[in-house]
């Protein structure tokens, strides 16, 4: 259990750093969605399934989609 949780937290940290480092904004959005997805798994492991559901649906799916729509209207690469 503790191994799984530490692995997930580590992965989440890597994804969070990647989201801020990536020059390609689409990749950054995918990394941010990964942060949300892992956060929802962690919420589930911490016995908060209600929050996990909201986080997975809103954080991982809808927010990423809205960001991608916005990026399509602007530029894909950060300067």
């Amino acid at each position: 259990m503790i191994v799984v949780v530490s692995f997930l937290v580590l992965l989440m940290l890597v994804a969070a750093v990647a989201a801020s480092v990536f020059r390609d904004l689409i990749s950054a959005v995918i990394a941010a969605a990964l942060v949300s997805l892992i956060a929802s798994i962690l919420f589930y492991l911490l016995q908060a399934p209600d929050v996990a559901m909201a986080e997975a649906a809103i954080g991982a799916a809808l927010t990423a989609a809205i960001f991608i729509i916005a990026i399509r209207r602007t530029k894909r690469y950060e300067e």
Binding site: P49, D50, M53, A54, A57, A61
Partner: protein, 227 residues
């Protein structure tokens, strides 16, 4: 010089926060109300899922405010994005066969799953917000896969207004039948069955419709704008 001042200020702020947080015991019960909800919530509200009992019954007024915030956000987005956009039909290239078939197969299942989540909000984890978000993600799939399809704005506005109206009306009925807004005036029924917990399932179904149609219309506005 400026950097040194900034670092000094940061250290002072960090010290202040750590000193004030040090006084608070970590992981122990600070208020009695949480314990009360866990012990008495099931008896009082009839909802097996304590989170739902708190969200809809004990803190129902906060939930109404939350729904209102989402409503205002959706209205504002619609007002800003729809201002200059005509209703003309635009040519869009169709999605690939895999995406098209996949979304046609998956959409009804996602819809049923979201509906299940918000109808069973008082029995299993989840509720109006979660179910509504899942339904909206199903509509997102439709927008990606079957681009010629559009949800009817009239239907989505109708679902949104009806959801909000049902919520407020049930709250006002509490004033009529009893003493306060959002009183649980319906019979509680036997716990752990679908028709139990009084007004909680009705309110959660209303919230599910409202949140689902609001989030779907946000996506609709953004996608229309971006084409």
């Amino acid at each position: 010089m400026r950097r040194a001042v900034a670092i000094l200020l940061l250290i002072i702020v960090a010290l202040g926060i750590s000193i004030s947080l040090e006084k608070i015991p970590f992981g122990t019960l600070k208020t009695k109300v949480g314990k009360y909800y866990i012990n008495e919530g099931r008896e009082e509200t009839g909802a097996v899922n304590i989170v739902t009992a708190v969200v809809v019954n004990y803190r129902g007024f906060d939930t109404l405010g939350e729904v209102t915030v989402l409503f205002i956000a959706a209205i504002g987005l619609g007002a800003v994005l729809r201002a200059g956009v005509g209703e003309g039909t635009k040519k869009t290239e169709s999605a690939s066969l895999v995406l098209y078939t996949g979304c046609r197969l998956l959409f009804p299942l996602i819809l049923v799953f979201g509906t299940y989540i918000f109808i069973h909000g008082h029995l299993t984890p989840g509720g109006g917000f979660q179910g509504g978000a899942i339904i909206a993600s199903g509509f997102l799939l439709i927008y990606l896969g079957c681009r010629e399809r559009r949800i009817s704005r009239t239907a989505s506005n109708l679902a949104e207004s009806l959801g909000g109206m049902v919520f407020v009306l049930i709250g006002l009925l509490g004033l009529v039948f009893g003493s306060y807004f959002l009183l649980n005036f319906l019979p509680k029924g036997t716990a752990n069955t679908l028709f139990s917990a009084g007004i909680i399932p009705i309110i959660y179904v209303a919230i599910g419709f409202k949140v689902g149609s609001e989030l779907a219309s946000i996506i609709d506005n953004l996608i229309e704008e971006s084409q």
